[in-house]
Amino acid sequence: MKKYAPSQRSILHKLVLAPYSIWAALFILVPLAFVAYYAFTDSDFNFTFENISRFFTATSMISDGEGTREVYTYLLIFARSLKLAVISTFICLLMGYPMAYIMSKASSRTQKVLVTLIMIPMWMNFLIRTYAWMTILQDTGILNGLLGFVGLGPVHIIGTESAVVIGMVYDYFPYMILPIYSVMAKMDVKLIEAARDLGCNSFGVLRRVVWPLSLPGVISGVIMVLIPSISTFYISQKLGNGKFYLIGDAIEGQYVANNLHFAAAIAFILMVILLVCMAFMQRYANKKAVVA
């Protein structure tokens, strides 16, 4: 094998990495810089905190069954987004974790089939999938047809928070199950045998070995579901009939209204909050890994 001097090798490395570095700079860093720039400037591009403070202070009147109240508009929207995203993520985790475990224990043939089955919906367009759920969940849709057939009567789902959650769970479920599955598939069976040998029943094995070792997969699954579901706007518009204005809708709305600076500010704040959340989760995972 030919040996390169360190400097030569680093030039070679840089050359090989160049396309990726340029790509990353052009399509990740530059747009992010633009978001930050727009977030902190007014329409004449003078520096301002106006947009940021508007997110935290803007109020509006809402009226519901209990009367009319004044609320912080964007904080309310953010809280609502967070609530729906957390519920969806939790449901994804609750369904995905056992399924990933069962998959990782199946024969390698079955594993391949299952992975493919989980991925197939991802090959379809996101919008089409959401439209499909509209027809399924409508008052006169397939689901209600079925429920009516077995005598459980029509249920009103479309336009409720449940419909939005169903859409989110369906769309992002693969992002939960695949990272958990890939961690579990790599787990050494001997570790499970060792735990059983050392006095753990099935639940003990799960709690003391499988769960802590699969945490990295769980964390990335949670991040990969939580982030798109917190920022989605399309699902809430189509399945929530536009009644649940989410943070993504807010960004889109401001953008469509040509209010670029405020749209950028919301996006920027959302990004910062998510980064902080992720940092905390990673910290928790690392700590957990040592102590447990």
């Binding site: 050392l198 003391r208 447990a292």
Partner: protein, 372 residues
């Protein structure tokens, strides 16, 4: 001595392939017993049956007088040291050892004492907070042993625990394991394919091949009185030749009649004759009981290993005297160096050094180490 485990007529098949064929074995309290055999002989399966990771198709496993065929591993008073240690990577050294104690919900202070006691037994004091992935192979091995011993099982199962260590470390660990076994008084069931390891550590050696037990005995018995050609060949080096018993203590082979110490065979019964390479004396050609031509000489430090062609059958002889290739020599064999075995299915398969090569031996060793 008290029987602690009895295997009674155990048969086990995987996908229609018989892995254990009617195996019966008694394991006594306090002994160091080794299951020895080439890969695929069923030794690991036997261990897994005792550990509870497999259930027998036929036969019974008795533990202290109680049938435990269907008792899950966590309810058995038996612990395992796994081949590649199977330490929990998310836990540090202390927590790995404390693992079984935490499952029993012992008080914190008691756990602390017991874990520190164990770590000092395996000479790992001071390593409590270290991550197990940062340890060397030998240290990981010690953690695995401490973890398996901390809850004071009646029996410790060791599945080729030294296979992944280098030679020097392996020798040290052999001594240490033996010491730990003596100190704790726990029955050790040790699985290995390394005959030297088996001989040097065990009270009892169980030689297995093709899912059956070939011989059970002390290391000295196994070496000096092998029951058949398989055992003779697998344990150490052996020249195995066809012979015929002429009378008690009189056997004919290689065209000569020898005095021997074995009796109880039928007159004119064909037998297998084992002569260990170190038990043959080289003498001048005219004084030899057998005559042959040296075909190869290898210097091995302690002795020379020479191959001698005697009427077309190649013998291996270990000697400290130098002889040259193509030299004509005589062989002298004492009566007690000759061991007579009954003919078995393994007769004629081993004991001829015509195609002998150290390299091939090592190759097959490497193969068996990579199993599982």
């Amino acid at each position: 001595m008290k029987k602690i485990i009895e295997l009674k007529n155990i048969t086990k098949t995987f996908d229609g392939e018989v892995v254990l064929d009617n195996v019966s074995l008694d394991i006594y309290d306090n002994e160091f017993i080794t299951l020895l055999g080439p890969s695929g002989c069923g030794k690991t399966t036997t261990l897994r049956l005792i550990g509870g990771f497999e259930t027998p198709d036929e036969g019974d496993i008795i533990f202290m007088g109680e049938k435990i065929n269907d008792v899950p591993p966590y309810k058995r008073n038996v612990n395992t040291v796994f081949q590649r240690y199977a330490l929990f990577p998310h836990l540090n050294v202390f927590e790995n050892v404390a693992f079984p104690l935490r499952e029993k919900k012992l008080p914190k202070a008691e756990i602390d004492t017991k874990v520190r006691e164990m770590l000092s037994l395996v000479a790992l004091t001071g390593f409590e907070q270290r991550s197990v992935t940062s340890l060397s192979g030998g240290q990981q091995q010690r953690v695995a042993i401490a973890r398996a011993l901390v809850s004071q099982p009646k029996v410790l199962l060791l599945d080729e625990p030294l296979a992944a260590l280098d030679l020097k470390l392996r020798k040290d660990m052999q001594q240490e394991l033996k010491k730990i076994q003596k100190a704790t008084g726990i029955t050790f069931v040790f699985v290995t394919h390394d005959q030297e390891e088996a001989l040097s550590m065990s009270d009892t050696v169980v030689v297995m091949s093709e899912g059956r037990i070939q011989q059970i005995g002390t290391p000295i018995d196994i070496y000096n009185e092998p029951e058949n050609a398989f055992v003779a060949d697998f344990i150490g080096e052996s020249n195995i030749v066809d012979g015929i018993m002429l009378a008690d203590r009189k056997v004919a082979f290689s065209g000569h009649i020898f005095e021997c110490v074995d009796s109880g065979f039928g007159v004119k019964e064909p037998v297998d004759v084992v002569i260990r390479p170190e038990d043959v004396d080289i003498v001048s050609e005219d004084k030899g009981m057998l005559k042959g031509v040296v075909t190869s000489v290898t210097f091995l430090g302690v002795h020379y290993e020479i191959i001698v062609d005697i009427n077309g059958f190649k013998w291996m002889i270990q000697t400290t005297d130098f002889v040259d290739v193509d030299e004509h020599i005589g062989l002298y064999i004492e009566p007690d160096a000759i061991h007579i075995m009954k003919k078995s299915e393994y007769s004629g398969m081993f004991g001829d050094y015509s195609s002998f090569s150290n390299e091939l031996d090592e190759l097959s060793d490497a193969e068996s180490e990579s199993e599982e």
